[in-house]
Assembly symmetry: C2
């Protein structure tokens, strides 16, 4: 066994359940905030009633707010800068994200960036996050786990870099996950989210061997995600399945699934290179393309764990059969499983491979060279 | 599905791994404590080197301390009172438990009791915990999960009451779990601990139906505990198995295994009645006797979940066969599986049943009357 020591620490208070969004104002008041920046996406929260519930709760608790709209998938630095300016100009004392991972990540960058000389420098490791405004979340799509961790990913449109950042200071104080708010999501967002959550578990899982407790738990979470998503494919309003998918997606990246394990993250690095160059590619869709190819390329590096994954999650002794079953599942969920399906040409492979390795060789199961990444992308083509 | 809303919140920073006990002094210093009360049991920590490591770390970080020794299994109120007096007389600003569940629970009662008029009143719900000294833990036996929650159980020797208490204020600030510190435990303590952890999961698990995510996770944790304990039966120094058992025992009662679920706790209430009347009965051993009988009595009240437990944990379609397999496992671990084996006579059943129901009917799967508890104890006899 890889005797990785670890620290489990997750200060976020997570309120889970139907009808809980109305508690947000009271929670923000408890933390002593009086005027907050509300960060949101394209407007779906105005259609599904979430915005009204939030606004009513804020008003009832005497919280003032201003609004930053227009966060897009693969959220961008220019929107973060806009948020920082608004927060500074309006004496904001807290940030509330109402949306999914992109909205939360933008809110994290604003909450920490307001105290930095140059927020992008913190993504490059050149400036350290020492302080952040208190952050609150009302989650409207389960996928990234950002509602319950200190991670955030932002794309710099000018440099075409999509980089991750982390600070223990940007864990949300309070996150509310109401699965009923996700009943009207477009199907592709549900499927992308499920794939992202699965990928988060796999990034940790495959680096383990002998860490039975977390390996068993991670298999449980993978089975729960597949089970719930298949049920939602039949009935997108199935509140039981929504609850199970939502809670599994939170556990997929709140520290539980990664405990005892090192983490690989090469597939995420490759996907980030793809969506940095092709911003229309949804993160979950990109992962559906990259992950099967990555497994096909690296599985002999940690054979016992890839074999138990095949057995315990996909009911086969053959890793490559398991990969095919995973691809069949993604296809059933209407996710792409090839670069071609993302409308990316074979000629683009060298530039994606170069981008994925520009800050070093990604991966733990296998440290990937630029050539390795190119081979994975060819398998994915 | 039972659409139970829940809040997941666990502020404890848990440092897990071999060699981490030496970090305790630095962590206590970080929290600003200067003079602490060190709470400990019967002296095993002096034999296995844990005490020396802790003392060195405290000295190196300039932390002064006084020591409260002699916490016993089924920890008692008189020891809590002694600790409160020592803490008050010595201007203590933090409490450090070095030991297992009994030691931690005593430390929690001292940390909160120092601010109460009458600490026992808080167990009776007559006084509220509004404040507590910061609490730190170095865990030496994985069992109760007390290193990562706000629960504590104390026995009042005078009234022969064994009562639980809870406050969000007594979650440890920092807990250190070094599985290598458990390599020299007597076998019965390892087995009792494993049984206690299994029981914590089952108390939540059996109240679920359709909550697939947590049900899958709980099955994973049960399998991990059984797997690790069987490996330790062969080699008690197996550090991989120690790690897996330790981490599963923490997850068994840190909020993860109970999420989405209501919790039953009748078996714990019955066991508490037994060990209140027979203080020599170890908590884990009492649970090994009560739990199989409780399942036998109540399983038809939530048949789908008892059946999936039989299938997914014990590989049988028959719940009663699963119960027998669980008893066989406990017997293999040298745990008692009958009241008789605890040297409790059949005549004692009415008084235990009366005690278990004196503050109300225990249970969620089935609310148990005094007669129901007597029937369970007869099955257990």
């Amino acid at each position: 066994m890889d005797m990785t020591n670890f620290t489990f620490s997750n200060p976020t208070r997570l309120l889970f359940g139907v009808g809980r969004i109305q508690e947000i104002g009271k929670e923000i008041k408890k933390e002593g905030c009086k005027k907050i920046l509300l960060v949101a996406g394209g407007g779906s929260i105005k259609k599904n009633g979430v915005y009204d519930t939030v606004a009513t709760s804020l008003r009832e608790n005497g919280i003032q707010w201003i609004e930053l709209w227009g966060v897009v998938p693969n959220p961008v630095l220019s929107k973060v800068m806009e948020g920082i300016r608004m927060a500074k100009d309006n004496d904001i004392d807290g940030v509330l994200a109402v949306g999914g991972g992109s909205t939360i990540d933008t809110a994290k960058a604003v909450a920490s960036g307001i105290y930095l000389d140059d927020v992008w420098a913190s993504f490059l490791g050149k400036e350290k996050i020492e302080k952040a405004l208190p952050l609150f979340v009302v989650l409207t799509i389960s996928a990234t786990g950002s509602e319950s961790n200190g991670n955030f990913v932002i794309t710099n449109e000018e440099t075409k870099q999509k980089l991750g950042n982390y600070s223990p200071l940007v864990y949300p104080k309070v996150s509310i996950v109401d699965p009923s708010a996700q009943q009207t999501l477009p199907w592709n967002q549900t499927a992308n989210g499920a794939c992202d959550a699965l990928a988060h578990i796999m990034e940790s899982y495959f680096t383990g061997v002998g860490n039975e407790t977390t390996l068993f738990v991670d298999e449980a979470l993978m089975k729960a995600i597949i089970d719930a998503t298949d049920k939602l494919l039949i009935n997108q309003k199935d509140i039981e399945a929504r609850s199970n998918l939502a809670w599994a997606a939170t556990l997929a990246l709140n520290g539980v699934s990664a405990s005892q394990l090192k983490g690989d993250w090469a597939s995420h690095d490759i996907e980030h290179a793809i969506s940095a160059l092709y911003p229309d590619v949804a993160h979950g869709a990109g992962l559906a393309v990259v992950f099967p190819a990555w497994i096909t390329f690296v599985w002999k590096e940690n054979e016992p764990t890839f074999r138990r994954w095949a057995k315990n999650v996909w009911d086969t002794d053959d890793v490559l059969v398991a990969v095919e079953r995973m691809k069949t599942t993604f296809t059933r969920w209407d996710l792409p499983v090839s670069l071609k399906a993302l409308s990316i040409s074979k000629d683009a492979i060298p530039s994606i491979a170069a981008k994925a390795t520009e800050v070093g060789k990604p991966g733990t199961v296998k440290k990937l060279s630029t050539e390795d990444v190119a081979k994975i992308l060819e398998i994915a083509y």
